[in-house]
Symmetry: C2
Subunit: 194 residues, 2 copies
DNA sequence: CGTCTATTTGAATGTACTCAAAAGCGGTGG
DNA sequence: CCACCGCTTTTGAGTACATTCAAATAGACG
């Protein structure tokens, strides 16, 4: 299955496209490979593209004044990754995006996505539904950050995202959970002892 | 300015509606008043409506096993409030929504909003843009919860939302920030001493 | 194989919480 | 209009969760 078939299958979950519409859509996409540790976006740059992940694993994060990084979210196959704020406003992004594995994405620029909305208005619905799912997931995460201890958040993460968890280092999981790698190590030791 | 004019002005920021489209939209809305402390949604109930806030202030929150509440977000005039998860899946909601002031909302049901998307497809765009803004704000909040201390989050909140802050008790602000009211009181004392 | 980064372990520290009690404030009814 | 009741805020003391610093070990990658 090539990358265009993959993204079309993903789109087909929410909207139906005829052959012409599929052609318009895929003609706007540009494939890009990102090697492990390479950046798709750096803090201070303008986010030029929305990125559909065909293969690999990306992370979106900030680095604070103490040099510590904080992972906002991971992206794997079949997810989209960008910084909407910068993409929409063309202001510098506060986030970094880089690859945790050799990855491949399909990119669409702001101009092309605006064209797509005009040419195939169904995509308004597609991205609306995608965004709805994102909002639901984000509110769940906010609630967890407010109401759960580090141990509870860790247990929830490994139960909810077992396939992603296996691809990540503990350092990255700790950064996502909002704790230090040292403390995660202590939690794991305690949990394995039971 | 009556409530229909208010919501139409809000919609007009992102899409243009002719008179007929305005009429279709407003005919789908039902006005409801919620007195202070009354519920719009309880945990375990299905969220039947999207709610546009015409007047007042609402909060969306959970209550954990220790009986402590955690405010996911506040809603004031010109914002929408619902639980998208429950609204879309018709599963029981994990959230409570109640009024912090006497409030008035315009409600639209799932069936009517689906009808609206068919009758006036422009609304796909409208809600897409609204959701984009929500995602941007939520990611900002997630980043703050990961990277900032309680004091920093408080200072950011009062600088970003001064008008909302004035309408809230410290207990509610503490719940939103993810700290105890006792600790917020200590922070405020410390900050006022400078 | 050597280097660099990730993980583990331990000790000391700090941030934020719990419990408890007092003070303040707001709404309600007499 | 005042008094009372309940809820919010303040204050203090003791505690717990999570961090920092440091050093040792393990693992990944060229």
């Amino acid at each position: 299955m090539d990358s265009h078939q993959l993204i079309l299958a993903s789109v087909a979950r929410y909207i139906e496209l005829d052959a012409r519409e599929q052609e318009i859509f895929t003609s706007l996409l540009v494939s890009k490979t990102i090697k492990k540790h390479e950046f798709l976006l750096r803090q201070g740059e303008v986010c030029k593209t929305e990125n559909f992940i065909v293969k690999g694993c990306l992370r979106k994060y900030t680095i604070d004044e103490n040099g510590q990084d904080h992972i906002i979210l991971f992206g794997v196959e079949d997810w989209w990754m960008s910084d909407l704020y910068s993409f929409l406003t063309q202001n510098p992004s506060p986030y970094f995006v880089d690859a945790l594995e050799d990855s491949e994405v399909l990119q669409i620029t702001r101009e092309k996505i605006d064209f797509l909305y005009e040419a195939v208005p169904k995509f308004e619905r597609f991205f609306r539904i995608l965004l709805q799912n994102t909002v639901i997931a984000h509110q769940r995460r906010i609630n967890q950050n407010l109401s759960m201890s580090a141990k509870e958040r860790y247990l929830d993460f490994i139960s909810q995202c077992p396939t992603i968890e296996q691809r990540l280092s503990q350092k990255q999981i700790a950064s996502y959970l909002g704790i230090t790698p040292v403390f995660l190590s202590m939690l794991r030791k305690e949990l394995s002892g039971k």
